[in-house]
Amino acid sequence: MGLIDIFKRKKIEGVDDTMYLTLREERRISKENNKIIRKFEREKNRKNVPEEEYLTQMRDPSNVVEFEDLHTYFFTDVGTVKSVNGVSFDIPQGKIVGVVGESGCGKSVTSLSLMQLVQAPQGQIVKGSIRYQDSNGKCYEITKMPKDKMLKIRGKDIAMIFQEPMTSLNPVFKIGEQMDEVVLLHVEGSTPESAKARSIEMLKLVGIAMPEKVYNSYPHELSGGMRQRVMIAMALSCDPRLIIADEPTTALDVTIQAQILELLRDVKNRINGSIMLITHDLGVIAEMADYVVVMYAGRIIEKGTVREIFHDPKHPYTIGLMRSKPTGETRDNRLYSIKGQVPNPINMPDHCYFYNRCDKAMNVCSRDYPDMVDFSSTHCAACHLYYGEGLQEQNKGKE
């Protein structure tokens, strides 16, 4: 008897143990996870996949990347975390798309999915598609692309700049070695000399005063701003079509931030590429982006042009975000903060994820997840306030 009791959940008075798992539940989860992970990994590790399987057509040929209904899940020991849960948006050629949201809302995972860099084996793209169009007009389905083919796109056509310049460079190799590596890898017929010339040219391009000296330095000998410049230089060295900048200025101090953003915009125009700018800083978005995507708990809740989002935000969360940025206008106004917390990512509710924090919450909000409502050809938001039952309820309140 005693032995069996170990596996039973015991109720302790006054303790909320719904977060805890019994041994049996834990074992069930890990068994299911293993099964799912193995299925996806086997699919990914196939060799000699015919090209037809991952060639596709863009919805709009002027886009570089299209996300459609992307689902990226993490199969953890305590349950499935739906980090990206049905995300669709486009990155047009030559434009800057800003992705905003608070920490853990899935913005980085979205970009990592595009690079096929989601932490495997726990993290897997479960559903949906990411289409990428290269300079010859060929379209690839990234989610179905074999690993070895992806290596040709990564770093060459799609380059990435990370949040932490302090830790994103390998501490034991010189800057030069790390930069040359990309050129040698992706530019055909490049020699060590040509790679060095290219790297130094890139270092000059990002405004480094003594490129030769930096070329021969180790990362720890440079400041944070310098390292971020090096990261940008490295990302640029193969003329990418898309740069993913994952919070490129978060770790830098304010004076450097502006310089780095200026630099990013400058190089974007020079190479005529697109930028996917991930940030939680609305100031950066207003400054840089053409289009804005607002994410909350793994879903897009509003998207539109930067003008639409800033002048006419629709979703209560976006409105809250706008209100919580410091303006410096009034002295006695405390900084606004959205009350409450993001729901537990493992057991997401069926209703709107923002329901418990929303100051406009209605009955219908606790029943189903809202559909996307279009306000213009570019602007849409997922909120009950603007359609059907919710709209009626809203109007009734006004009368």
């Binding site: 084996p121 070895d148 290596l151 796109i153 990370f162 830790t167 501490p171 180790y218 990261m231």
Partner: protein
């Protein structure tokens, strides 16, 4: 940098002094000293009297066991050690330095071969296990590594001896030469081969015991490195997984690995006391164990000082290697 080394060496001398005083005190306080051990039988049978024993003790300098007496004899030991004379071993009847230099090499040979084997087996296994974390390979290798680390050396030795020497009879049981075989004096190669044959089991034991630690150490460090941001950067550049692992990740894993492994180098001269004793190999560990059991104070002191110097040297080498492999480290 030179200043750093001078300071380290001065500190090491201080440590050695403390260690020597402590070991001397402890070995003098052992309940039965060398003379007691040697004369026990004669005393029982009446061949010697208590006075004879006492006279012998005085002759060996073991008579005065008061604190003052110990300090006095320690100081005289220290004085002769300073001049490079470690004294005369009671048990082996030779100068301690000569015993050390005679028996060190076989111990070093065994330890060095198993050290190399540990590295060439343990590190690739650790890397592979870390790259395939939570795979069947990872679990199997980790379990065997844990077993190897957890098994006592005498038990593993006995196990292997039983299987390979007694049951299967394909490897010799003990010793360094086959006593029943007579080799012509000019058959050097055959003698060498015979010796090598005898060393297979002891080297296997030491390797099995050590390889788990190396493997685990590599795996842990590799996992840490593989999760770092610069590995993500390397992947984002489009490098193949092979290059990411063996160039970017392993170069960083090498920092702790090289420092700890190079620190072990001097220790290889120290001998493997238990393994050598179980296999009756006349190495320095075996000699030291016998000397310790018999209370041979000059040899105990000499051997332990030798070990302390090796340890101090190991730490110093570790520091130097740290500076060599990690560009961020400057000793000052």
């Amino acid at each position: 940098m030179w200043k750093y080394f001078l300071r380290r060496i001065a500190l090491s001398l201080l440590i050695l002094l403390g260690v020597s005083a402590l070991i001397y005190l402890l070995s003098m306080l052992m309940p039965a000293d060398y003379i007691d051990n040697q004369t026990y039988a004669a005393l029982q049978s009446g061949a010697m009297t208590k006075e004879d024993v006492q006279r012998l003790k005085e002759l060996y300098g073991l008579a005065d066991k008061s604190f003052k007496g110990i300090v006095k004899s320690y100081l005289s030991w220290l004085k002769s050690t300073m001049s490079g004379d470690l004294g005369f071993s009671f048990l082996y009847g030779k100068p301690v330095t000569k015993v050390l230099s005679e028996y060190i090499w076989i111990s070093f040979l065994i330890a060095f071969i198993s050290y190399i084997l540990q590295i060439i087996i343990g590190i690739p296994m650790g890397i592979k296990a870390s790259v395939n974390q939570y795979s069947a390979y990872d679990y199997i290798v980790s379990v065997f590594a844990m077993m190897g680390t957890a098994l006592p050396s005498f038990f593993l030795s006995a196990l292997l001896m039983n299987v390979f020497a007694i049951k299967l009879g394909i490897l010799p049981l003990q010793g360094l030469t086959t006593a029943t075989k007579l080799f012509p004096p000019d058959a050097h190669f055959q003698i060498l081969l015979d010796k090598a044959w005898h060393l297979v089991l002891p080297i296997s034991v030491l390797t099995l015991l050590g390889v788990g630690g190396t493997m685990k150490f590599t795996r842990t460090n590799m996992l840490e490195v593989l999760n770092s941001d610069y590995i993500r950067t390397a992947r984002a550049k489009g490098l193949s997984e092979h290059e990411v692992t063996y160039k970017h990740a392993f170069r960083n894993t090498m920092i702790p690995l090289v420092t700890s492994l190079s620190g072990m180098l001097p220790g290889l001269f120290g001998g493997a006391m238990i393994t050598e004793t179980v296999f009756a190999i006349p190495g320095i560990g075996y000699m030291a164990l016998r000397a310790t059991q018999q209370g041979d104070i000059p040899f105990i002191m000499g051997y332990n000082m030798f070990l302390s110097i090796l340890t101090v040297l190991g730490m110093l080498i570790s520091d130097i290697m740290y500076m060599v492999v990690d560009p961020r480290v400057k000793l000052s």
